[in-house]
């Protein structure tokens, strides 16, 4: 190989590698991201069965039910619509009624949202930003003192 050919091979190899990495990244971005919805957005959302989404809102008062063993369910609300969420796991420490929450999972055939993660917050003053924005958009946001 001449020097020029060698250099071309090296540059070509590098570019091919970067191209591969870019392709992988964009494929993964298309596949592995989940959209955020509030309960009221779900009517307009066109969800395919089994699509992973994140559902956020407030934990509706009086709806936390502990079932058999480790199962727990609660309603997530935006003060207009609410959705029942089933979860089999340990709820975060700061999970409380009337507090913001973000859950991730899929809808079951019975219309119950089966969450496999419930987002914790680390600070009692902290509200997940998506939930705060969503509540503000609906005009039901109350500034905390």
């Amino acid at each position: 190989m001449t020097r020029k050919k060698k250099r071309l091979a090296v540059i070509g190899g590098g570019l091919a590698f970067l191209g591969l990495a870019a392709a992988l990244t964009f494929y993964a971005l298309g596949q592995r991201t989940s959209y955020f919805y509030m309960p009221g957005d779900l009517v307009a959302a066109e969800l395919t069965p089994g699509q992973r989404i994140r559902l956020g809102g407030l934990v509706e008062k009086g709806t936390i039910e502990r079932g058999q063993g480790t199962n727990v369910s609660f309603q997530v609300t935006d003060h207009e619509n609410s959705v029942k969420v089933a979860y089999n796991g340990i709820l975060p420490d700061l999970f409380r009624e009337d507090q913001g929450v973000v859950t991730e999972g899929t809808f079951g055939t019975d219309g119950v949202f089966v969450a496999d993660s419930v987002l914790a917050k680390h600070d009692e003053n902290y509200m997940p930003r998506e939930v705060a924005d969503g509540l503000k958009a609906k005009g039901v946001w109350q500034e905390e003192d």
Binding site: R32, E124, E130
Partner: protein, 664 residues
């Protein structure tokens, strides 16, 4: 009064930073020695003032002076003393003060250790440091004043977030900031070189120790943060690909690339422009990390209450420094001449490959982290990019990189022989192959990934030691000669081997936990047992416990081996901190060798039991011990003779050391 003095010291430090960022720069442009000489004393004075301001805030915390808003919001008179001290930086204002304190300290260190630098380079470096300092002093004074007063002073404070009342707070943020801010030195050197339009191999020798030190601290900060989140959050995970974690991981990745490309520049005077660019990018990513964490623009499991208006300010700082330095780079980089030529198969070639992988990995993590922001800005949709994305992109990029790591240090400079190196690695490859087969036969016949991952980790460790053995000449000369040669090897060779071995151990820990851990999630009543891996766990009941500033319900567990013998007890509890009415989970952890048994307590069930989650995490400690070994490797390398003696005077002896370091 003393609090006002602290505030005043901070204002003075800001004024001095303005002097530091202009006068020496003008001096360097016009060749005025006296103006350049201003940089040193001003930097030292700025450091003393910042240290004073920081000490004042610390004293306010120790004395529980609730007339200071910051202390009132984040402290409590009953809080144990250690958390009163560490609480100083357990909040936004205090942590930014720590940030500038470390920046000022690094500036002072550069001043002390830069006696042999050319005067203009020194003046420019300190001036750039001054600019960074001025920006952040202004940020603190304008948006995040830690010395604001409250009148009348309340009797009791609101307490520190209980999750932060942990020894982790004493270690993690200072280490992380030492890493973040340490990269500002490489940045300042890069910008100074661009201002000068001159750069040579000696430049790389001055910059490398600072980069290495920053990298060691950042490695420690990330490892400590990961372990802290692991035991404190009670979720049993060591890495969540969370934006805040990525924010610290990004400068680590590009800093690692910088560390390797600076070697090429120092030894072979090649890759100059690329190294400069990496130095700029690494600190830019550190700034980006500060922005992401402090502004709260991304939803994070590690996010604490944040204030968006501050985010805008940091964003402005970010744009000025990144934009400014990249513009300077675009204008001046062509002035720098290209250096030594090399064949693709060579030590330089291997390091370029390392850089290609690491920067591409940095780019994918960066894209995954910022993509949600971009989508929201363009379409208004709120999306999240989770662990599956990162596993799918970062994994395939890093595995091949790990596979070729052992080749790098064995290749000769300029023109290497891949066949000869493969032959030398035959032994290491054999061990790795045995480990793979052994793992497949004896540990887990189902998961091919586990076996291959374990093989890869062993390959890394064995490869690192092969390098040492070959350079000492084991097998070629008599063992006693080889042993004495081994001790005569440059410390940087040991550093490389230790750091690469640490990488192998971390990989082993991750592979082992991801593929081989067992988890039981169930509800238990007192007296019931569950089987987890080789252990039987018995739940003995719950009893109340009173801590200094919390109450807790403590779950008692006993664990037994398969023969039914009791091996010990462990406690897992739910705490309530009354000052904030905040509950936390304290995981119960027992270490067996390098593995851990991990119990997390949930809520009581309707039938009188309690929900528990129990993990057996094999070799989990290696994840962090590998990080510690990387830190040790970096530190050993930092102690290399070559880096301690004055660079220009050391050229000859360094050349001798280099010849000795080459295999055969």
């Amino acid at each position: 009064m003393i609090v006002e003095l602290g505030h005043f010291a901070l204002v003075l430090a800001f004024a001095l930073a303005l002097v530091q960022s202009t006068v020496p720069l003008i001096g360097a442009r016009s060749g005025n020695q006296r103006m350049m000489a201003v940089a040193g004393p001003v930097t030292i004075a700025g450091f003393v003032l910042t240290a004073f301001a920081f000490a004042v805030l610390t004293v306010s915390y120790i004395q529980s002076d609730f007339s200071v808003v910051n202390v009132w919001e984040n402290s409590h008179s009953l809080k144990p003393m250690i958390y009163k001290v560490t609480g100083t930086w357990g909040n936004h204002e205090g942590s930014m003060l720590l940030w500038v304190l470390i920046l000022a300290a690094f500036g002072a260190l550069v001043t002390v250790f830069s006696g042999n630098l050319p005067a203009t380079l020194r003046a420019n470096v300190l001036a750039v440091q001054g600019m960074i300092g001025a920006a952040f002093f202004l940020f603190i004074l304008a948006t995040s004043n830690p010395f604001a007063r409250l009148d009348p002073a309340p009797f009791e404070g609101r307490d520190l977030n209980p999750l932060l009342q942990d020894i982790g707070l004493a270690i993690h943020p200072p280490l992380l900031y030492l890493g973040y801010v340490g990269f500002s030195i490489s940045f300042s050197f890069a910008v100074a070189a661009l201002i000068d339009g001159k750069i040579d191999a000696a430049w790389a020798r001055w910059v490398r120790p600072w980069t290495l030190a920053a990298w060691v601290f950042l490695t420690g900060g990330i490892a400590m943060g990961s372990y802290w989140a692991y035991y404190e959050l009670g979720w049993g995970g060591f890495w969540f690909w969370d934006p805040v974690e990525n924010a610290s991981f990004l400068p680590w990745l590009s800093g690692t690339a910088l560390l390797h490309s600076a070697i090429v520049m120092e030894k072979r005077s090649a890759l100059k422009i690329w190294t400069l660019l990496l130095a700029i990018l690494t600190f830019s990513l550190s700034l980006l990390g500060t922005f992401l964490v402090r502004s709260g623009v991304l939803t994070s499991v590690h996010a604490f209450a944040t204030d968006p208006t501050r985010g805008v300010f940091i964003l402005a700082i970010l744009m000025v420094f990144i934009g400014g330095s990249l513009a300077l780079f675009a204008i001046r980089a062509h002035l720098l001449t290209a250096g030594g030529l090399f064949q693709p198969i060579s030590r330089e070639g291997a390091l370029v490959l390392n850089n290609l992988f690491l920067t591409t990995a940095t780019a994918t993590v960066l894209i995954g982290t910022l993509y949600p922001l971009l989508v929201e800005a363009v379409t208004g949709d709120k999306i999240s990019v989770g662990p599956p994305f990162f596993n799918m992109t970062f994994g395939p990029l890093v595995v091949p990189l790990l596979a070729v790591v052992p080749f790098g240090p064995l290749l000769a400079w300029k023109r290497g022989d891949i066949a000869a190196v493969s032959q030398r690695l035959f032994f290491a490859f054999g061990i790795a192959l045995l480990a793979t087969l052994g793992a497949f036969v004896f540990i887990d016949r189902v998961s091919v990934f586990a076996a291959l991952g374990i093989g890869l980790s062993v390959w890394l460790v064995a490869g690192a030691f092969t390098d040492l053995a070959l350079k000492a000449g084991f097998g070629k000369v008599s063992p006693s000669v080889a042993l004495s040669r081994l001790f005569g090897l440059p410390r940087s060779v040991f550093g490389t081997a230790l750091a690469h071995a640490g990488l192998g151990l971390t990989t082993l820990g991750i592979v082992s936990v991801v593929t081989l851990e067992t988890e039981k999630f169930t509800s238990m009543k007192p007296g019931e047992t569950v089987q987890v891996a080789d252990y039987t766990i018995r739940f003995d009941g719950i009893s109340p416990f009173q801590g200094p500033n919390y109450t807790e319900d403590r779950g008692h567990f006993t664990f037994l081996n398969s023969a039914g013998r009791e091996l010990g007890e462990l406690f897992s509890s739910k705490r309530l901190y009354p000052a904030r009415q905040m509950p936390t989970t304290e995981a119960g952890i027992r270490t067996r060798g390098l593995s851990q048994l991990y119990i997390s307590l949930g809520d009581p069930t309707v039938d009188g039991g309690i929900v528990v989650r129990i993990w057996w995490k094999p070799l989990v400690l290696l994840i962090w011990l590998g990080g510690v070994l990387m830190m040790i490797g970096g530190t050993v390398s930092l102690l290399d003779r070559r880096l301690r003696i004055g660079a220009p005077a050391a050229r000859r002896s360094a050349a001798v050391g280099e010849a000795k370091a080459l295999p055969s």
